[in-house]
Symmetry: C2
Subunit: 478 residues, 2 copies
């Protein structure tokens, strides 16, 4: 027993030893006096988020008590009231609602789909795509023609006539950043119907936008573009496993008949709101930095990672500033944008009003890539500010923020783009994101508390630095 | 509708744009000819893992069909047979079992614990610690004395007499690397009983080793050190929420009586095995590099993250080499170590035999920190090889491997330590690890396929580079 115990102690010691990793406080030696101050303030932001953070409980409340909140729905209306309430609880200097009319698409009854092989009816998990029209009441039954891309579909011509076109282009899983794989496929979902409708196709189905093989259909936005009303056809997503199986069966049974039924429809536009709150700048109250995500979500899940996490992290930036008594020079404005998922009306209206009111935005940060462990930021700005943000790497790397690259920012802050505005997208790890994206599994239990809080603190840290150092219109001039 | 659609298209374009991130193939410009070759080979390893990887299905098999596999248990014996089988399936040049006697502790019946406040009986989720003795058949009932650290416990003296000592030191959640927080607390679990037993305490309970507040007791190893048999007391872990509540109640009810019962015991040592397989080196077959994890696990969950992922990733390194027709110069030896969790007998025996047989180990890589998204490697080696491994950062960073630091390696490869042996610990992201560690939630569904496969490829990449470039005994000489 003694020998055993000694070995076990050795194991614990080795284990303890193996966990020796650099922690933040250890390497401020290479920092200038000002950088040391920044490093300390950033550490405080992280400490507060990890020990007194509010984001996780806010998210629990939003996802569990309201759930999915598609634009125009009663849940979206509840989310607006909820958003205003928690902004007030944080004690922002002012909170207000920005009215905006939004599209109002409803899913209707649960969709169904199947086909028959050797006398066995095979059900396929399916969901209508946002903005799709319904099928006739009895559904659509037709032969299937499979393509792997929009380009292939464009060449179908008459071959598509009377058929259901099946877009089965899969994610390129060799791409490390899963959003890149999404970017390579999502055109099928968005534009597939507008390409094959004019050929006389009866309907379109698309493989779900996800990395893995699973049983969940992933919804998302589609559009009919400029095509004539009579060419508009019902569009739906089937699960990736359903797509794999259908593709296999089509090889031996090219004439199998696929059936699907959906009763979705687009109602008249509905009134809604962006929820906005701000901490007034102590030195330059007229200079504004936006921090935001989107309040609406798809209806299938609870909109946890998309984009509940972005919402609560954005507000937590303000909370962390207040808790640490950081008084920003410029105005920090928290925005819960409405209708990112299907219309972008909230973002468009926010930018329009900003212009109409002559507001001076100097920066914006968006969190809309999930609530996973932090990886970095993507910067859409003039070269001087890109270099500036990249110079903060040594302050941010201890928190896992290594990827500070020039690139896109976010859909909701995109309309603020201007050469003197620094747009930043928060970039958490992307590996798990498309397991949940736009589907029934996007629920609270998929979010890890620490990962969420580390994200809030990461965002607060870059806003702290941007507020202090960003080159603005006057300082950009030579 | 048209306007809406255009906006939606804009949204998709912006989204696509925002996802623009550097992918691997883009920046080989700064690479030398040899680095370009390495970069290409590494990319192939990742592509293979992400499209033809086997690790996820191996892990599903191990965790679902065998489950938890504590040393000496029937499940551990099954895991040995399973390990030998999958090593043979991969087609290693040779596969063998290395006999080793291991401790055999069994949990017995489900533990129970409770206390009563204002007439209400409060049940507490509890589990015995590995190597603890049982309570008497009727359990233990005693007053509780709470401490927050081993240091505090050491000062208890007579105050502990007749009491249950409650170690309630919590993780320091401000530490970014959760293993560091674990390191700061685990001494309570491991040595608590040996400190307070000699004071006459009747039992010890410890707050579970986890970051969050949840309802799962987390087991783990403990030891009685050199204390006399009559001072050995039953030791158990209670859930973190149970600990929080107990602590609150003790403030108003310092004399409450806590009851717990467990029937665990240590049986005679049992025969078991390390499972070993290798690809023979093409140039230096006598120089060996180990890649491994541990096959045993705690009994409460299925040993998915701890350390099923390490096992399957280690074997996948060999699989990826074979699939890509990479013939290592040195011998790559895959080792599934037995008994890491409670005794380290497998690791000790492996190192003893290596010495006895005069084997020349030049490197070793261990994966025993979970199967989450890759972050880097920790290196325990001479300065020349530390610098060498750090010089590969630009090859590895595109895969999220930024943290390539000097530090510890792993418990199972630790006994191979020598100035000419380069020991490396694979370091995935640690944020979620202690949600599952040593508890019932450590199951297959917590592992993400891509994160697991990225880990395998990360490990294969560093082994590929180590095999090619590592300074060994002769090249280390001036």
């Amino acid at each position: 027993m003694k020998k055993l115990t000694l070995l076990t102690i050795a194991s614990v010691i080795i284990f303890s030893c193996k966990t020796e990793q650099k922690e933040i406080s250890k390497s401020p030696a290479k920092f200038s006096v000002e950088e040391k101050k920044d490093s300390t303030n950033i550490k405080h932001l992280f400490n507060t988020a990890l020990t007194q953070g509010k984001s996780y409980e806010w998210l629990r409340d939003l996802t569990s008590n309201i759930g999915g909140r598609l634009s125009g729905s009663p849940e979206a209306a509840k989310a607006v009231i909820w958003g205003e309430k928690i902004m007030n609880e944080v004690g922002l200097d002012s909170v207000w609602l920005q009215p905006v009319m939004v599209p109002h698409w409803v899913r209707g009854e649960k969709e169904e789909a199947n086909y028959t092989i050797n006398g066995n009816k095979i059900n396929v998990p399916i969901c209508a795509l946002g903005f799709s029209i319904a099928t006739p009441t009895n559904g659509i039954t037709a032969e299937v023609i499979e393509v792997k891309s929009l380009e292939e579909a464009k060449k179908l011509g008459d071959k598509a006539k009377g058929k259901i076109v099946f877009f089965n282009g899969a994610f390129d899983n060799t791409l490390i950043h899963t959003f890149k794989a999404y970017g390579g496929c999502v055109g099928q979902r968005f534009a597939g119907a507008s390409v094959v409708g004019p050929f006389g196709a009866k309907g379109m189905i698309v493989r779900s936008m996800t990395n893995g093989i699973n049983d969940y259909p992933h919804t998302g936005s589609m559009g009919y573009g400029d095509i004539a009303k009579e060419h508009q056809i019902p569009a739906a997503a089937i699960s990736s496993r359903g797509a794999e199986n259908l593709s296999k069966h089509l090889k031996n049974n090219p004439n199998l008949k696929f059936y699907f039924k959906q009763s979705c429809k687009t109602l008249p536009d509905a009134p809604s709101f962006n929820v906005v709150g701000e901490i007034k700048g102590s030195l330059n109250p007229d200079k504004i930095m936006v921090v935001g995500g989107h309040l609406d979500s798809w209806d299938l899940g609870d909109g946890a990672h998309d984009d509940g996490t972005g919402i609560v992290q954005s507000l937590e930036v303000a909370y962390l500033f207040k808790k640490n008594n950081i008084k920003p020079k410029n105005t920090i404005r928290i925005v819960f944008f409405m209708n990112e998922e299907n219309g972008m009306k909230g973002a468009t209206e926010y930018a329009r009003l900003a212009k109409e009111n002559g507001e001076l935005h100097i920066g914006a940060l968006e969190s809309d890539a999930g609530g996973h462990t932090p990886r970095g930021f993507s910067i859409d700005a003039n070269q001087k500010n890109v270099h500036l943000l990249q110079s903060w790497k040594k302050l941010l790397a201890p928190y896992g923020l290594h990827d500070i690259d020039k690139g896109g920012s976010g859909a909701d802050i995109g309309p603020l783009k201007d050469d003197h505005v620094t747009l930043v997208g928060y970039r958490p790890d992307s590996q798990r994101y498309f397991d949940y994206h736009h589907t029934v599994t996007d629920t609270f239990d998929k979010v890890n508390k620490r990962e969420l809080e580390l994200g809030s603190a990461s965002m607060a840290s870059i806003i702290y630095l941007m507020d202090k150092y960003l080159y603005t219109n006057e300082t950009l001039k030579p």
